[in-house]
């Protein structure tokens, strides 16, 4: 038998089940109190600082950050359970998302003591928001081709270039800007890259909105015009940017947001079937089965990360499968119920699902890139 690409999931810890119930009860209260309406793709599209702070007050933001940095010293698995609950219900969590998912772990792994003390407490409190500073106009999947340039000056670096598809930059406090700090060597394309903590209110930073086809503003273009970044805001090692950004992508790719972005649609379809307003299409059942399998797989990836393993391959498998499934679910709802659905909430979810779906299999590594990662893992490349 061949080795498994995704490890077997462990047996659930009763303490995690208890935590799950606690989060679920809190979310129900919040919905009942009208604090938020469950939505689609809310980890990207629903920015609600008050709700993020309310979660932080309960200790559900920055969970894995050590207590000494204002966090809660909880495990990856505890964070996973809370994250799943937030996503499954479609809670507005965009304000904390990037900070909690990848900025905090990257700071913990590569940041200086001063950087950790400066940023981590604010992240755990839900006060500091982060964005992603990777993609550029000419660099999408081929991240090593970034052209943003970092030039060393007295006391720091001057950064110039353009970052693109920067979700939430207009609300965010900072991003890790990936820049070329040494000229491109075609034989060693991954060398000469570095990451810089760019405070987005710095002089020389211009943030321009890019509207999505829905008319919503999530994306931005971030122009960096000779932006000064002091030495103490260099993340990790100069020249080690590729390794660091790959590690950051590991956090970005591996979570349950890669299969749960449209989960609310499934709940609404099932309710519709129960009250007779939606046809009892067997494809709804098939989707429920796949979601059950994906929940197991995503759990296994998180457990693998908790054990300190390299989960790149397993995460790629889950992301390819999960993003296709969550997108197909949006499409299925459109086929069965449509934007014309009598149930206004379902109609709204269908509309949002159709608008957001194209991004699912692009962001965080396209399915095409990830299939290549899987093929490499199988020894084909």
């Amino acid at each position: 038998m061949s080795a498994r690409l995704v490890p077997r999931a462990g047996t659930p810890d009763p303490a995690l089940t208890e935590l799950r119930a606690e989060v679920r009860a809190f979310l129900k209260e919040q919905i009942d109190a009208g604090v938020f309406t469950p939505g689609i793709d809310t980890w990207l599209t629903r920015w609600n600082p008050d709700f993020t702070r309310a979660l932080a007050a309960r200790g559900w933001v920055g969970m894995t950050i050590p207590v000494e940095y204002g966090g809660h010293g909880r495990t990856f698995m505890e964070r996973f359970v809370v994250t799943e609950e937030l996503l499954a219900v479609g809670a507005p969590v965009a304000a904390q998302w990037v900070a909690d998912r990848q900025a905090a772990p990257s700071l913990l792994k590569y940041g200086t003591e001063e950087q950790k003390q400066r940023f981590l407490p604010g992240i755990a409190a839900g006060e500091i928001c982060w964005a992603i500073g990777m993609s550029e106009p000419d660099s999408g999947s081929d991240l090593a081709s970034v052209k943003t340039k970092a030039t060393q000056v007295d006391g720091g670096w001057r950064i110039s270039g353009t970052k693109l598809w920067t979700s939430g930059a207009h609300h965010a406090d900072a991003f890790f800007g990936l820049a070329r700090s040494a000229p491109l060597d075609p034989a060693h394309r991954h060398d000469g890259l570095s990451q810089f903590i760019v405070l987005l209110d710095s002089p020389g930073v211009t943030i321009r909105p890019i509207l999505s086809m829905s008319g919503d503003h999530h994306f931005n273009e971030v122009l960096l015009d000779d932006v000064f970044v002091p030495d103490d805001l260099v993340l990790g090692q100069i020249g080690a940017g590729w390794e660091q950004v790959t590690s950051e992508l590991g956090y970005e790719r591996s979570g349950p947001e890669r299969f749960l972005s449209t989960f609310g649609v499934l709940e609404s379809l099932v309710h519709g079937v129960a009250d007779g307003s939606v046809e009892a299409d067997t494809r709804i059942g098939a989707t429920i089965g796949r979601m059950a399998g994906l929940h197991r797989m995503s759990t296994a990836v998180s457990e693998s990360l908790e054990r300190g393993e390299n989960a790149e391959l397993a995460a790629s498998v889950v992301k390819v499968l999960g993003t296709k499934t969550e997108g197909d679910l949006a499409d299925l709802a459109d086929e069965i119920a449509g934007y014309t659905a009598a149930d206004a909430h379902l109609a709204e979810l269908v509309r949002a699902g159709v608008m957001q779906r194209p991004g699912f299999t692009l962001r965080g590594g396209t399915s095409e890139i990830l299939r290549g990662v899987i093929a490499r893992g199988l020894g084909m490349r």
Binding site: M1, E267, V273, G285, A286, I288, G289, A292, G293, M380
Partner: protein, 346 residues
């Protein structure tokens, strides 16, 4: 502790290692013939106590549980093993235990009979020493063991030429033992789970065959596997196979935790059967596409596995029936998420 994979004990690892030595793939073609019972393999299984793995030790079984059975079924599935290991132990053997009947060593299969004493597509019936039958009499559900000689058999096969015979038994000549009414339901869930596990194993072997072929065969001056289009085909086989493993493991863990009567176990088995059934379409299609014409010749190994997974998905209920069951379960639970993760609904 959290994250402890149920298979990480030394005993289970050793057991998996032994299975990989017992079940080997690729050496048995039987071109153009109906698959025959592999009696040499069966006697090896008997010697090792694998023929009645989950039977109680008092009744001559090995006293193992579903974790071990799952490993056995995956190994047998990956080798396209021509032995009724699932039927003998997890269906027939289990039915006999339910009925309090003795089970001397034998090759057994099992069937649910209709009111006329008939059952269609009974696995391995022509090669079995006896068939353990389950039927509903006016007094309730009954179990009896019937020697093959007392069964009228019309030979038939599934898509992979595995024996799936139609049987007819004279009910008036049978004296059965009472079993609980839920037995017939459990029979179906057991059947679906054993097929999902075997499917997971078979998909592993298909993936191996496809990776071997696409890395070895050269076209346009490079191995097929260097083409991104081919990589995508193979990656999707791998992702679907991983999903089937995850769903089937989930069902096994549910059985271990709560038994077959538990609603969450039944949901997990339905999910595994649904995932395995739908994944079979992608895995078989992509594997054939990657293998080219050689892949659907009689002499190539691929069809043995591809046609098995396409057969197995229909054998204890159609794929659509499992999808419907999942939808119905969600409707009853009122919340899909609570059904998938356990715990109270919002």
């Amino acid at each position: 502790m959290s994250g402890q994979d149920a298979l990480q004990s030394t005993e289970l690892r050793d057991f998996a290692q032994m299975l990989s030595e017992v079940f080997t793939s690729g050496d048995d073609h039987r071109i153009g013939e109906v698959v025959e019972l592999d009696r040499a393999l069966w006697s090896t299984l008997t010697e090792l106590g694998l023929d009645r793995l989950t039977g109680s030790e008092e009744s001559g079984g090995s006293g193992a549980g579903w974790l071990e059975a799952a490993l056995l079924l995956e190994a047998a599935g990956s080798a396209a093993a021509a032995v009724p290991v699932a039927e003998n132990d997890l269906l027939a053997g289990w039915l006999l235990e339910q009925a309090g009947l003795d089970a001397a060593p034998a090759v057994r299969t099992a069937a649910v009979l209709d009111a006329d004493g008939r059952a269609r597509h009974v696995p391995w019936a022509r090669f079995a020493d006896s068939i353990v039958v389950l039927w509903e009499s006016p007094q309730g559900w009954q179990v009896a063991e019937v020697a093959r000689g007392d069964v009228e058999i019309v030979e038939a096969v599934n898509l992979a030429a595995e024996p799936r015979d139609h049987v007819c038994v004279d009910l008036s000549a049978l004296s059965g033992r009472d079993v609980p009414a839920g037995t017939v339901d459990e029979f179906r869930y057991r059947g679906a789970l054993v097929r999902a596990l075997a499917t997971a194993g078979a998909m592993d072997r298909i993936l191996e065959l496809v990776v071997d072929h696409t890395t070895a065969r050269v076209q346009f001056g490079r191995p097929l596997g260097k083409f991104q289009a081919v990589q995508a085909l193979v990656a999707d086989i791998a992702t679907e196979a991983s999903l089937v493993h995850a769903a089937a493991d989930g069902a096994v863990d549910a059985v271990v935790a709560g038994g077959f009567g538990d609603a969450s176990t039944r949901f997990a088995i339905a999910a595994a059967a649904s995932c395995a059934g739908h994944a079979a379409s992608v895995v078989a299609r992509n594997a054939h596409q990657a293998l080219g014409a050689i892949g659907f010749t009689m002499e190539h190994e691929l069809h043995r596995h591809a046609n098995r997974i396409l057969s197995w998905r229909s054998e204890f209920g159609t794929v659509a029936s499992w999808d419907s069951e999942l939808l119905a379960a969600a409707g009853e639970a009122e919340e899909v998420w609570a059904l998938i993760t356990g715990g109270p609904a919002r």
